[in-house]
């Protein structure tokens, strides 16, 4: 039995570019620990533990085969939807779901609190990959509707929590998966057009604070500082802190003082990128983005080397989810996107976020390590004029 397992391990492709993702994740996690130590040293140990748990989760994600993952995808999605619905149900005891700042995002499991929306990211990637693996109808407009629905259902529930930031990740991820799966440009264009109209129709449904954030970002773009003491305070302060870091940063001591007395909200969490910018300056920012590009490169190369449709899409989807989250987080910190409650994967303090990010990396690693099954067929090889 043991020798059989070893034989199986020996057949794995150990020289896989998925390790780049692991390397990038470790670099980012170390960067995050240093940044968290700058502002909340009391959270470092908890973050280290969460990191270990996350790595464990990533290793656990490597264990099941692709087939098993495919089978797990739908029950996992069901579990996520169930938890998301529980969050929104009236009458749920505070001990289980406690509202913070008007948002119900966390389920209390006693020993720890957990955000179902984090698990939903993994579930959505697996489900869409599973749906698309043997299909060719994504080449038509109607074929795009099921995968989009798979993203929109959890997205809607997360929007109601409300957690606009996390909800917004599902669309670019789904879009990326469809693009990789061979969807036609014109169909994607139609989806985009419908999305724009839909988004415009959704504006009246936005909460006042969400509208405030959009207004604040628009004011920032216009260079209008009139909102900087009100609804644009957090965004303006974050940009100030990013700028204060300069080219090479302010060093540890000065950074601590600047961050302490400027009272940047959520500096250990959603605004951790500003901490990196203050401490290590533009170089720190570039290093962070470099690490994410390394992760993207690892993920896409893993997908490129892979032959199975499901595996390909899992690698692309996991990478896209992490990249989109990075874009939203760092974009809002430097003032090109509205402020949302969004962590920076691997860097921000927070167990759920870190474990979910490692799970996604684990999925990529699983794709990269596992050899293709003997029976496979080429997927997503359409003739579309050189794929453009």
């Amino acid at each position: 039995m043991r020798s059989r397992a070893l034989r199986r391990l020996a057949r794995w492709h150990w020289a896989t570019p998925a390790w780049l993702c692991v390397l990038a994740a470790i670099i980012l996690m170390c960067l995050g620990l240093a940044a968290i130590d700058t502002v909340r040293s009391d959270l470092v140990l908890r973050q280290v533990i969460a990191g270990i748990v996350g790595i464990g989760a990533a290793l656990a994600a490597v264990v099941p085969s692709q087939r098993q993952l495919t089978m797990m995808a739908w029950p996992l999605m069901g579990l996520c939807l169930l938890m998301l619905v529980v969050l929104l149900l009236p009458g749920v005891p505070d001990a289980l779901v406690r509202s913070r700042n008007g948002a119900s995002r966390w389920i209390n499991f006693g020993v720890t609190e957990f955000q179902p929306s984090e698990l939903a990211k993994v579930a959505v990637v697996l489900c869409i990959a599973s749906w698309l693996r043997f299909r060719r109808n994504q080449r038509s407009f109607m074929g795009l509707i099921p995968p989009l629905a798979l993203a929109l259902i959890p997205m809607g529930l997360i929007l109601v929590e409300p957690d606009l930031g996390t909800a917004l990740l599902f669309l670019p991820t789904c879009f990326t998966l469809l693009l990789a799966a061979g969807a036609r440009w014109r169909d994607l264009g139609k989806v985009c057009a419908i999305g724009v109209v839909g988004a415009a129709m959704m504006v009246p449904l936005l909460r006042p604070h969400q509208v405030d954030r959009l207004e604040a970002m628009w004011a920032q773009v216009r260079g209008d500082t009139s909102l900087s003491e009100g609804i644009g305070y957090q965004g303006q302060l974050a940009m100030t802190m990013v700028g204060a870091g300069g080219l090479a940063g302010q060093g540890e001591t000065q950074s601590r003082q600047l961050l302490k007395w400027n009272h940047l909200p959520e500096d250990h969490n959603d605004m951790v990128f500003a901490v990196i910018a203050v401490r290590w300056g533009l170089l720190g920012q570039l290093a962070t983005w470099g690490a994410y590009l390394l992760l993207v490169a690892g993920g896409l190369m893993t997908a490129a080397q892979c032959r199975e449709a499901f595996s390909r899409l899992v690698a692309v989807g996991a990478t896209a989810m992490l990249f989109a989250q990075m874009m939203v987080n760092t974009g809002m910190t430097i003032g090109v996107m509205p402020i949302t409650g969004m962590t920076l994967p691997f860097v921000s303090a927070g167990g759920s976020s870190l474990v979910a990010a490692w799970l996604l990396v684990g999925l990529v690693l699983s794709v990269g390590l596992r050899p293709p099954s003997r029976l496979w067929r080429e997927q997503f090889a359409f003739d579309d004029g050189a794929a453009s």
């Binding site: 693009l179 700028g243 204060a244 300069g246 007395w261 920012q285 896409l300 003739d383």
Partner: protein, 765 residues
């Protein structure tokens, strides 16, 4: 179209050619790089281009500031007599917990818990706890009672009054808190979209900060309270405050009424006067308005820079008079102690007090002039010698006086009745009729009447239209064939349709012959008249220093400009065929003309200086913004004008020389001795005076009094040895009637005041 070499399925072995999927991956890679590129561009913009500004903003948060109070400059008269100044005082502020009694409850609870021990306390029932706390509360309640007693004593009020004040403060804060919490709850519900049951009301600022119960405590009283402040810092706090005070106390002025017309004689009387020049000095307000912050914000909202002279919520701001006009001078800069939070390093910038404002007024003379205008002196109420048939005897008349130093243009006194201080004592109908809120010497504009005649003569002489000795014949009326139009004041039935005959300038001025000046008006024409009136200053605002700084909305027009028709208006008058009539009317100070007493005094001072313009001013060092074209006058014309004005005061035919009573008895108007005076009277047509006598808010026919005239009396005066007049005095009594009869005695009393205060024939103050 299928591309060669790209089959539907990849070959299973060998080096793989790029497939459709790989192309899409490449595309995704490029997209990812492009997205990161955009972020990098923004990062470069922030971290390189805007780094310095951002770092400065971030570092500014490392510094905390403590502000040191400043003080407002004083307003003093020309001799340094303080008219308004800041005075340090103390305020006793009591904590909210003391006000509500919670201070005693909390301490009693602590003591009770300590006495019982933590374990036993945990076993107590609520009733047992209450009993234990009540027992421990007594000494703390006694402390609070002692505090209230001490505060009542310090404030000079009984305990009942203090308790009412405590109750009112508690009620006010609790009502405020209820409003704030309701608003916060609604905002919270709107924001998070769930019902307000989970809303937690936190104490509002007023429930944390101490409340001032006694706001005006002197040093001696404050020392009595220091005992509490030292031993119970959490109970009472003695705060340093400043109060604006006027130093000159109400005083008494002795007036010898024997120099007045006979009906007013009552020996030497004492006139109680208030703060001298109170209306000119003005008031302050202790609330900062939006316009103040917009004009000079303490912290620039765009840059965050601090202007230490900028406005903060608890500042004192000039509200009227010189306090408002000199706001930027009087206002100081607060001091600043900057502490680096990270290093504890301190940097101190001392406060700078506001600069003093020195007025050209002589407070002593001002007080005398105000006493003269007091109705108790009898000169500003309708008197028998006024021969005012429309108003009843004793009716109060609004009046103004300006005393100007001719060589310098400095205003030595400027007073009016009624004053703003009388606002509360007047009935509503009197307020409406007497408009006590106006700064009359610079705001009341009326027709000048005959007092413009010496100015018209000097102007015509300067233009070569008349010489000193040129006679002009008075036929009683100016326009041939129209005896009822443009008549001389003597050409009326009550004067036997008398005419002056041929007159030269000096006599024409002394007799105030209208026909002489009708002729000059016709010769000059409307345009020349307007140009000269503007030279005399009639058409513009004088800018003596009472206009508030830019950005202050109130009081922008406190210094009124006179009325002189502009070019368009003159063209319209000429086009309507009234050009000649308007010109001859203006030559005797009627027509479309109006000015203030200050304009009149300034014009006569300019005449006395031979046409040399020195702008009048109320503030030492003030540079008036008004500019006028100076037109020097021929000395012969000036001498003739002054001679005519002297004759007007001294000759039997002079219009400003005597008062004629009903019994034909006559008395001189100017009774002051050892002075040389040059006067001109003016009796200007006035609109109906609306007086709601019965206060029923309905103007009955009898309450609209017509056929009234404003009384002017302008004098140039100095001691009888002086080669030229030194002081210009302008007196206006609104609706008073004859200039000589009504305003003349006031001018005479002002001359007495100039003498008694040493300005004439004495040692100058």
């Amino acid at each position: 179209m299928r591309k060669p070499g790209y089959p539907d399925h990849m070959p299973p072995t060998g080096r793989k050619a790029p497939t459709f999927f790989h192309h899409r991956l490449r595309l995704l890679s490029v997209l990812a790089c492009a997205c990161v590129g955009v972020l990098m561009l923004q990062a470069v913009r922030l971290s390189v281009l805007g780094a310095d500004a951002s770092l400065e903003r971030a570092q500014s948060r490392l510094r905390t500031h403590r502000w040191l109070p400043t003080w407002r400059g004083s307003i003093v008269d020309r001799n340094g007599t303080v008219l308004a100044r800041d005075e340090p005082r103390w305020a006793a502020a009591v904590s909210w917990d003391a006000l509500t009694g919670r201070w005693a409850d909390d301490r009693a609870a602590q003591d009770a818990r300590a006495a019982a021990g933590a374990q036993a306390w945990a076993q107590y029932t609520p009733d047992e706890r209450h009993r234990a706390i009540d027992t421990a509360r007594a000494p703390y309640a006694d402390t609070l009672e002692a505090l209230w007693d001490a505060l009542a004593k310090a404030g000079g009020v009984d305990r009942g009054a203090l308790d009412e004040r405590l109750h009112a403060t508690r009620g006010r804060v609790q009502r405020l808190a209820a409003v704030v919490w309701d608003r916060q709850r609604r905002a919270w519900e709107a924001r998070v979209g769930i019902d307000g049951a989970r809303f937690t009301a936190r104490p509002i600022a007023e429930q944390v900060q101490p409340h001032v119960l006694l706001g005006d405590i002197d040093d001696a009283t404050a020392i009595d309270l220091v005992r509490f402040a030292d031993t119970h810092e959490d109970l009472v706090d003695l705060q340093y405050v400043r109060r604006r005070v006027t130093d000159a106390p109400p005083g008494t002025v002795l007036i010898d009424t024997e120099a007045m017309p006979r009906d007013a004689r009552q020996g030497t009387i004492e006139i109680q006067t208030g703060q001298p020049a109170a209306m000119l000095v003005g008031t302050v307000r202790d609330e900062v308005w939006k316009e103040d912050v917009q004009r000079r914000p303490f912290r620039n909202p765009a840059t965050g820079d601090v202007d230490r002279g900028g406005y903060r919520l608890d500042d004192i701001v000039g509200a009227s008079g010189m306090e408002r006009a000199a706001e930027d001078v009087l206002r100081g800069d607060v001091g600043r102690v900057t502490v680096r939070r990270d290093t504890g390093e301190e940097h101190r910038e001392d406060p700078r007090g506001g600069d003093d404002v020195r007025l050209t007024l002589d407070a002593h003379l001002q007080r005398h002039v105000e006493a003269v205008l007091d109705p108790a002196a009898g000169l500003t109420v309708v008197q028998p010698w006024h021969t005012n048939e429309q108003l009843t005897l004793g009716t109060r008349l609004p009046a103004s006086v300006v005393v100007l130093d001719v060589p310098t243009g400095e205003i030595l006194a400027m007073a009016a009745t009624p004053g703003r201080g009388e606002l509360d004592s007047l009935t509503q109908s009197d307020q409406h009729a007497l408009t006590p809120w106006l700064m009359r010497p610079v705001q009341i504009r009326v027709a000048p009447g005959s007092i413009v005649k010496p100015l018209i003569f000097a102007a015509a002489a300067a233009d070569g239209l008349v010489s000193v000795d040129d006679p002009i014949t008075c036929n009683g009326h100016h326009i041939k064939g129209h005896p009822g139009v443009a008549r001389c004041w003597t050409y009326r039935p009550q004067y036997g349709m008398a005419t002056h005959g041929p007159l030269a300038a000096q006599e024409a001025l002394a007799r105030s012959c209208n026909c002489y000046f009708y002729e000059l008006g016709e010769r000059m024409g409307l345009d020349s008249l307007a140009a000269w009136f503007n030279t005399w200053g009639m058409g513009s605002s004088p800018d003596i220093g009472l206009t508030p700084p830019e950005g202050m909305a109130q009081g922008r027009h406190v210094e009124a400009a006179g009325l002189v028709p502009d070019a368009d208006q003159r063209a319209a008058i000429v086009a309507s065929g009234e050009g000649l009539y308007e010109a001859i009317a203006q030559a005797i100070g009627q027509g479309r003309l109006a000015w203030t007493p200050l304009h009149a005094a300034d014009a006569f001072a300019t005449l006395a200086r031979g046409g040399r313009i020195i702008e009048p001013t109320l503030v030492v060092g003030h540079q008036p913004a008004r500019t006028r074209q100076e037109r020097l006058l021929p000395q012969a014309a000036v001498d003739a004008a002054l001679a005519g004005l002297n004759d007007a005061a001294t000759q039997w035919y002079g219009t400003g020389a005597r008062i004629k009573y009903d019994d034909n008895d006559r008395e001189p108007i100017i009774t002051a001795s050892h002075v040389k005076v040059h006067v001109k009277t003016g009796t200007a047509q006035a609109p109906p005076w609306v007086r709601d006598v019965d206060g029923d808010a309905v103007i009955a026919p009898g309450e609209r009094v017509g056929d009234l005239e404003h009384a002017w009396y302008v004098a140039l005066v100095d001691d009888d040895t002086s080669p030229m007049p030194r002081y210009a005095i302008a007196v206006l009594v609104e609706y008073g009637g004859s200039g000589g009869r009504v305003a003349g005695p006031i001018a005479d009393q002002v001359i007495h005041a100039l003498q008694s205060t040493g300005w004439i024939s004495g040692e100058l103050p």
